[in-house]
C-alpha cells in the first residue's frame, strides 16, 4: 500500500531542514557542499512525489534537470574548493573572507 503524499512531503521538509542545518552549522566547505546536495535531494523527492500523485512525468523531468545542475554545481564548487585550499590551506568557511572589505 502506497503511503499518502503528505508523508513524502513531510519527509522532504525534514530532509531539507537537515540540509539547511548542515549548511549553516558545519565548518567544512565540503560538508556544506554535501548539505546542499541533501537539500537538492529533498526537493527532488517532492518533485517525484508530486509527479507520481499527479500522474505527470514532468516532475521527473525537472528532477533530471536538477541532477544536471547539481552535477555542474558540485564540479565547479569542488574546483573552487581545490583552488582555495591550494592557496589558503584551509576548508573552513570562516577563513574564506577575502571579499570582506
Amino acid at each position: 500500500m502506497q503511503a499518502p503524499i503528505e508523508y513524502y512531503l513531510v519527509l522532504s521538509a525534514v530532509l531539507f531542514a537537515i540540509g539547511v542545518a548542515g549548511v549553516v552549522i558545519r565548518r567544512d566547505v565540503i560538508v556544506i557542499l554535501m548539505s546542499i546536495e541533501l537539500m537538492l535531494n529533498a526537493v527532488n523527492l517532492t518533485f517525484i512525489a508530486f509527479s507520481r500523485f499527479m500522474g505527470s512525468v514532468e516532475g521527473q523531468v525537472i528532477v533530471f534537470f536538477v541532477m544536471t545542475v547539481a552535477a555542474a554545481e558540485a564540479v565547479v564548487g569542488l574546483a573552487i574548493v581545490i583552488s582555495v585550499f591550494r592557496f589558503r590551506q584551509t576548508l573552513d568557511p570562516r577563513d574564506m573572507q577575502l571579499l570582506k572589505w
Binding site: F16, A17, D28, E73
Partner: protein
C-alpha cells in the same frame, strides 16, 4: 507503507549523520547512503529511471568526486563543534522544518493518480525531455560543458 517508514527512517538517520559526523569521510559515506536509500524511495514512487540515475549520477559520480577531492586535499583536522552555534543553527533549521511541514496541511493532491506501467521509465521521460523540454535539455548540456571548462580552469595549477 511499512516500506516507506523503513526507508524514511533510514533516510533521516543517514542524513542526520551527514550533518553530525565530525569526520568528513563519514559524512560523505552517510550522504552516499542517504542518496542510495532515496533512490529506493524514488523506486517506490514509480520513478525507476530517476532512481537509477540517482545512484549513477549522485552516488556514482558526484559523491565519488567529493570523496576524491577529500582524498586529494586530505584535510587532517576534525572540526570542532561550538555548542552555541550548533544550538542556534539547529533551532533555525527546526523552525524552518515546522514551517515547511505546516504547509503540508494545506490542501494538496490526496488521491494517487492512475499511471501506465511505463510511467517513469526511460521512454516516458525521454518523450517529455525531447519534446516539451528540448530547449532546457540543450541548455543543460551547455551548462555541463561550461561547468567542465570552468572546473578545469579553476583547478588548474597557476603557471
Amino acid at each position: 507503507m511499512i516500506v516507506f517508514f523503513i526507508l524514511a527512517f533510514l533516510t533521516l538517520l543517514f542524513s542526520l549523520l551527514v550533518v553530525t559526523q565530525r569526520n568528513v569521510v563519514h559524512s560523505a559515506m552517510a550522504l552516499a547512503a542517504t542518496l542510495f536509500v532515496m533512490a529506493v524511495l524514488f523506486l517506490t514512487l514509480d520513478a525507476p529511471m530517476l532512481g537509477v540515475l540517482q545512484i549513477l549520477v549522485y552516488a556514482g559520480a558526484i559523491m565519488i568526486l567529493i570523496l576524491f577531492v577529500i582524498m586529494l586535499l586530505n584535510p587532517l583536522s576534525i572540526e570542532a563543534r561550538p555548542a552555541a552555534w550548533w544550538m542556534l543553527g539547529s533551532l533555525g533549521a527546526a523552525a524552518l522544518c515546522l514551517q515547511l511541514a505546516a504547509l503540508v496541511h494545506r490542501p494538496a493532491v490526496s488521491a494517487e493518480a492512475a499511471v501506465p506501467a511505463s510511467f517513469g521509465g526511460p521512454e516516458s521521460i525521454a518523450q517529455s525531455l525531447f519534446t516539451d523540454f528540448a530547449l532546457p535539455f540543450g541548455l543543460a548540456s551547455v551548462l555541463l560543458l561550461v561547468a567542465i571548462i570552468g572546473a578545469v580552469a579553476l583547478a588548474q595549477r597557476q603557471r
